[in-house]
């Protein structure tokens, strides 16, 4: 507030916190911010969900099977170097100007990181679990569903957290570049209308959603897993 009052920057470029708050309340009252939040969350949940559904099994397979490691594993570590937003031009040409294109960008952003993190986790599992399971007669699919999957839960959780961060970022950059309803779009509109208080209030909303998922949703899940596995609390 003091910085704003000092008048170093023009008030249109650096609005006072009160202005930002006012804009945010206004946005919630008129429904533009809730609408943008729900549109963005819907996209990210879908994209992130797809990434989890594919990424977790894929990560386990890449870690366990030489065939997958040589093919998909190599491909995935190569793709990691590519920022997800670079998929947008390709997505636009493939899917056209619609939600599918953004969804694709979100999936490409989080799927790669989830696959790699899960794979690392599974490869670092103590070999004792699999050996014990084998001498008890466990093999084939049950080895994956009853041993490898639950044993890698701590790693999967880390992968899920990482994947969420990537998905959220990918969505925001996608929405910024590609106009449709959503938080990124609202942010861009603020720029176009030179409404800095809107820009800032949307940024705060984006941070709040990111923090909420990280601390509340993942925080609780992590606590439960850590307790069950008897790991020290972080």
């Amino acid at each position: 507030m003091a910085v704003a009052k000092a008048g170093i920057w023009d008030s249109t470029l650096f609005p006072a916190p009160g202005k930002v708050l006012e804009n945010m309340i206004d946005g919630f009252r008129t429904g533009t911010i809730p609408m943008a939040i729900s549109a963005s969350l819907k996209r990210v949940c879908m994209g992130y969900g797809i990434s989890l559904l594919i990424g977790v099994p894929l990560g386990i397979l890449v870690a366990r099977k030489q065939l997958f490691r040589d093919t998909i594993g190599a491909l995935v570590s190569g793709l990691q170097a590519l920022p997800s937003i670079c998929w947008l031009p390709l997505a636009l040409l493939w899917f056209g100007l619609n939600d599918k294109a953004i969804l694709f960008v979100v999936v490409m952003g989080s799927l790669v990181s989830i696959t790699i993190a899960v794979q690392d986790g599974v490869r670092n599992l103590p070999p004792g679990y699999v050996r014990a399971a084998r001498t008890l007669g466990c093999k084939g699919l049950p080895m994956y569903t009853q041993v490898l999957l639950p044993a890698s839960l701590p790693a999967i959780l880390i992968a899920a957290k990482l994947g969420w961060a990537y998905a959220w970022r990918a969505l925001m950059s996608g929405e910024l570049l590609f106009v449709s309803i959503g938080l990124g779009h609202l942010l861009m509109m603020g720029r176009e209308l030179a409404d800095m208080s809107q820009v800032l209030s949307v940024m705060i909303v984006i941070i709040a959603i990111g923090l909420f998922t990280d601390k509340v949703i993942f925080g609780n899940a992590e606590l439960q897993v850590r307790e069950r596995f008897g790991l020290a609390r972080a």
Binding site: G128, Y129, A133, L136, G137, Q146, R228, F229, G230
Partner: protein
């Protein structure tokens, strides 16, 4: 106390597990290392057989091959006359540590094996509780693994392996990560479990005292000196009354003889007959060493 010949042929009917000419080499950075050479051995039904030897003698490799977790270069493992190569619940194994599943409770860990051998769902819980009861842990059935002490965890591991009713129970240094007091309790416990279940047990340890406390027979393994030599140095019959305690005089005396054999690389009959009073200073020291061995 009799030192049996290394290659022992038993009559066909009472043999549970038969090992024929097993050899295994590992390729390391320093070239080929012989892990196991020309091992032949029969395990009788209901026998408590111990494999003992210093590190690098191949005892764990031998157990892993029998368990199907490792493969031999040559030779075969016959279970009731049938060759086995892959792991299976007929040869369930108890490991040194860390093999329980922390995402399951104690009783669910025991149920895990029962699920694998397709025990009907409604029978699993009862059978799991029965085996937890055998190892004296019925009160802790719903405990998380990390809530249990090291000794309790090994009891759960034993219950988990016993529950699938293996034809031979394999144990790979199951007590070596425990403190001395817990270990002594488990020696008594394991002898009781063995007697009450009639299980055939193949037990690996580097601790000679432990071997004599638990075993009907102790198979001493060594790193073979020459190509073609057997990894089996000698086989000892332990005919001391049970339940044995690790501090029993007879146990200590026999452990010393095995330790001496282990150290000299060959059988020295004179050591087997010599009395305590006649020991000279160096052998006294060696005896002291072996007593320490037993406690380590």
């Amino acid at each position: 106390m009799i030192v049996a010949p290394p290659l022992e042929e038993l009559s066909g009917t009472e043999v549970k597990l038969s090992i024929r000419g097993l050899s295994k080499k590992f390729k390391g950075s320093a070239g080929e290392v012989v892990a196991l050479s020309n091992v032949s051995l029969d395990v009788r039904a209901g026998e408590f057989l111990i494999l003992v030897g210093q590190s690098g003698c191949g005892k764990s490799t031998l157990l892993n091959i029998i368990g199907g977790l490792d493969s031999a270069d040559s030779g075969s493992v016959l279970m009731d006359g049938r060759a086995v190569t892959l792991p299976g619940p007929d040869r369930a194994m108890v490991f040194q540590e860390g093999a329980l599943f922390p995402w399951l409770t104690a009783v669910k860990n025991v149920e895990f094996g029962l699920t694998q051998i397709r025990v009907p769902k409604h029978e699993r819980r009862d059978r799991a509780l029965h085996y937890l009861n055998i190892v004296g842990l019925s009160k802790f059935s719903d405990a998380c693994i990390h809530e249990l002490s090291g000794g309790m965890r090994q009891r759960v591991a034993i219950a988990r392996s016993l529950a699938v009713e293996p034809r031979v129970l394999l144990m790979d240094e199951p007590f070596s990560a425990l403190d001395a007091q817990t270990r002594e309790d488990l020696y008594i416990e394991l002898q009781r479990i063995w007697e009450s279940t009639g299980a055939t047990i193949l037990f690996v340890t580097h601790n000679v005292r432990e071997a004599v406390t638990l075993g009907d027979r102790v198979v001493l393994l060594r790193r073979p000196a020459e190509r073609g030599d057997s990894s089996i140095q000698s086989v000892f019959d332990v005919e001391i009354m049970r339940p044995r305690h690790i501090d029993d005089m007879d146990v200590a005396r026999m452990a010393k003889q095995i330790s001496l054999t282990m150290r000299h690389g060959h059988d020295k009959p004179e050591d087997l007959t010599r009395n305590e009073e006649q020991l000279d200073a160096p052998s006294l020291l060696r005896g002291f060493d072996s007593a320490l061995d037993g406690r380590s």
